[in-house]
């Protein structure tokens, strides 16, 4: 018997479905992307910003955002950084290996609701992964949006994920992309400095009343970026962030991800900034 729900039986939301790795590759040192095909049941359809719980056999289960294109019904893509036991096991999976998946979970970037707007993406480090499905959506439907800006920062050039793809996006004539690193390395000819420096600059060139911003990265980066956006005149209700907390269930049962009244797994991870701004200022909340 497998985790596949029997017809008529209530599927247990804690039981993973089996998927097989179709392709897996390293993005940068310690960060790997994999594409998955379902073994039990149908492929997972998702919305940009949602995540899955990925299970490595015998090791454990972690929350990982879906980093692929939501319009491509055939694939399920995840990009994971190895930081501990489970994430390391996930990044080591190779084509043909099996992985458990529960999901998709959580709220989505309200990207379709922001049609007609100038979309500003602000990404820090691996925060680009959860944003990438939204970026694909805007790029695939570029005529429906007034503008596209991506400000992407990482600690060092070797920590920039999807670097080649970012170059491709930048080579389009209808995108504005700023990539910056905190610490340059030999050969780096790009920007150096924090994300907000370049965010402030790009905001000078757009009408703030038309901007909708999507931010994902360290909380401190999102807070400062939100302040920059507010300074520039972008309304708080046009700003969206994705938050991260310890997660054990993703379905509102384990309590770990609570953030005041919100369960980040169900009510988030994507929030409108004004809904969480006060809480982000609280220490150890």
């Amino acid at each position: 018997m497998t985790a596949m729900p029997k017809p008529g039986a209530m599927p247990d939301p804690m039981v993973p479905r089996r998927f097989r790795v179709r392709k897996a590759w390293d993005e940068i040192d310690g960060v790997a992307t994999m594409e998955l095909d379902p073994v039990d049941g149908p492929q997972i359809a998702f919305q940009p910003g949602q995540f899955n719980m990925l299970y490595a056999f015998g090791v454990g289960e972690i929350a990982v955002s879906i980093s692929g294109d939501a319009a491509r019904a055939d694939t399920l893509t995840h990009t994971t950084r190895a930081v501990g036991a489970v994430s390391t096991a996930i990044t080591r999976l190779k084509a043909g290996d099996m992985v458990g998946v529960r999901g998709p979970f959580g709220s989505a970037w309200p990207i379709a609701e922001q049609e007609g707007r100038h979309i500003v993406f602000v990404a820090g480090g691996l925060g680009l992964a959860p944003l990438r499905p939204a970026i694909y959506h805007v790029l695939n439907n570029r005529d429906r949006y007034a503008g596209f800006t991506l400000v992407y920062g990482a600690r060092s050039p070797s920590e920039l994920v999807f670097a080649d793809e970012v170059k491709d996006w930048k080579s389009r004539f209808d995108t504005e992309i700023e990539v910056t690193v905190d610490h340059a390395a030999p050969g780096w000819t790009g920007h150096v400095g924090v994300v907000t420096t370049w965010l402030d600059k790009t905001l000078l060139t757009v009408d703030p009343a038309t901007v909708s911003a999507f931010m994902c990265g360290p909380e401190i980066m999102m807070r400062f970026s939100a302040a920059s956006l507010a300074n520039a005149g972008v309304a708080a209700e046009r700003q969206f962030v994705s938050l991260e907390r310890n997660m054990k269930c993703a379905i509102g049962f384990c309590g770990h991800c609570q953030y005041g009244a919100d369960f980040i797994c169900r009510d988030g991870p994507v929030f409108r900034y004004d809904a969480v701004a006060a809480r982000l200022k609280l220490k150890e909340f």
Partner: protein
């Protein structure tokens, strides 16, 4: 459970009801005096109810001792709640085994026969109804919890005395159960038996078979008065409007005051009948070919509870106590439309240093931090 208009009855010996349930194939879980406390464990045939016992409870204090020998239910709630049966503290969720092409997952169902909870207090019914909303949140339902809950019959006991730690009256959860039971008992004056009320068709069927005498209006009035007396003797109360008070006082200095006393042991969350937090654990056999996923109770008082790569979010005791109390009394209402506290007083009695949720709430309510 549909309310049934069945008339109230009288029973002399509640053990007769226990035996009747057992005869009808119910596993009966009921109060037992174990290690100096009332616990809720399966009643083996012939097991006796802890008649003649009473408890003294205070902040950091619980003692079970001799009371009126003629009284069946003169103790109130002990350290454990019914939660441990509906939401076991350790539960296997599924198993997986390595196969040639990966692994296979097998969901696990625990064995939970049809079960009667015997002696459920009003606050404990309220606690179950609180957890019902947690484990069926509209998007997801825990099938194990749902199965166990559906297979459970509730025999309530309306409290006729309160401990010093009880404050159900101020939480509107007791001491008299208004609904949520199949059968409810109220102990009348010593030696005159117990009033039997029926709350469902299931309960009516069971009681019908006992051929009990009918109660009269005086019996019913006496039962109501006994519950009212249990409410009147409550010395603790939750100040009103705490949901809003706490939400507006997340920076209050009292959090640090209580943190200076709090051991961050998590006893309050373990004893609490509504706390639902859990962790998961993967248990592998030596070969590494077989693994099991277990769910265990967890507490927001542990540092690891909020661990993310780089460290825990709530590192200080003050932040964890704030999480506990604001969750119970404030954010729970936004999450589930009800308070997370039913006023059972367990967290007060079983706190090793006697921290009192009603006193902490009152301290903050009395000196709110001025708004910026």
């Amino acid at each position: 459970m549909s309310a049934s208009p069945a008339p109230a009855l009288l029973i002399d010996d509640p053990a007769v009801l226990v035996e009747a349930l057992q005869r009808q194939g119910w596993r009966v879980i009921g109060p037992q005096a174990r290690d100096g406390a009332i616990t809720y464990d399966p009643l083996t045939p012939g097991a006796t109810l802890p008649k003649g016992l009473t408890d003294t409870q205070e902040g950091g204090h619980y003692r079970l001792g001799a009371g009126d020998p003629g009284r069946w239910f003169d103790y109130v709630v002990g350290p454990q709640s019914w939660k441990k049966h509906l939401f076991p503290s350790r539960q296997k969720l599924w198993e997986a085994s390595r196969t040639d092409d990966g692994f296979a997952v097998t969901p696990v169902q625990d064995d939970y026969p049809k079960t009667a909870f015997f002696g459920v207090r009003a606050c404990e019914i309220a606690a179950m109804e609180v957890q019902d909303r947690v484990f069926d949140n509209g998007d997801f339902a825990d099938p194990g919890y749902g199965r166990r809950r559906a297979a459970t019959l509730i025999v309530a006991v309306n409290c006729t005395r309160a401990a010093a730690t009880c404050f159900c009256a101020s939480m509107q959860t007791g001491p008299r159960a208004k609904a949520g039971f199949d059968i409810a008992l109220t102990e009348l004056a010593t030696g005159t038996g117990l009033l039997v009320e029926v709350g469902s068709d299931r309960g009516a069927e069971i009681v019908d078979g006992l051929d009990l005498p009918r109660a009269n209006a005086a019996h019913r009035a006496e039962a109501e008065a006994a519950s009212a007396a249990a409410a009147a003797m409550q010395t603790r109360a939750m100040p009103p409007g705490m949901a809003g008070v706490l939400a507006a006082n997340l920076d209050h200095p009292q959090w640090q005051v209580v943190a200076d006393a709090c051991l961050s042991c998590g006893n309050c969350t373990m004893a609490c009948p509504t706390c639902f937090c859990s962790d998961v654990e993967d248990v592998n056999d030596l070969s590494g070919d077989h693994t099991e996923r277990w769910r265990t109770w967890d507490s927001c008082f542990t540092v690891d509870f909020t661990y993310v790569h780089g460290g825990a979010v709530r590192r200080s005791t003050a932040s964890r106590y704030r999480q506990w109390m604001t969750h119970k009394l404030s954010s729970w209402e936004a999450q589930f439309g009800t308070s997370g506290c039913v006023g059972c007083g367990r967290c007060i009695a079983w706190c090793p240093v006697g921290i009192d949720i009603t006193a902490e709430a009152a301290a903050i309510a009395a000196s709110p931090v001025p708004k910026e």
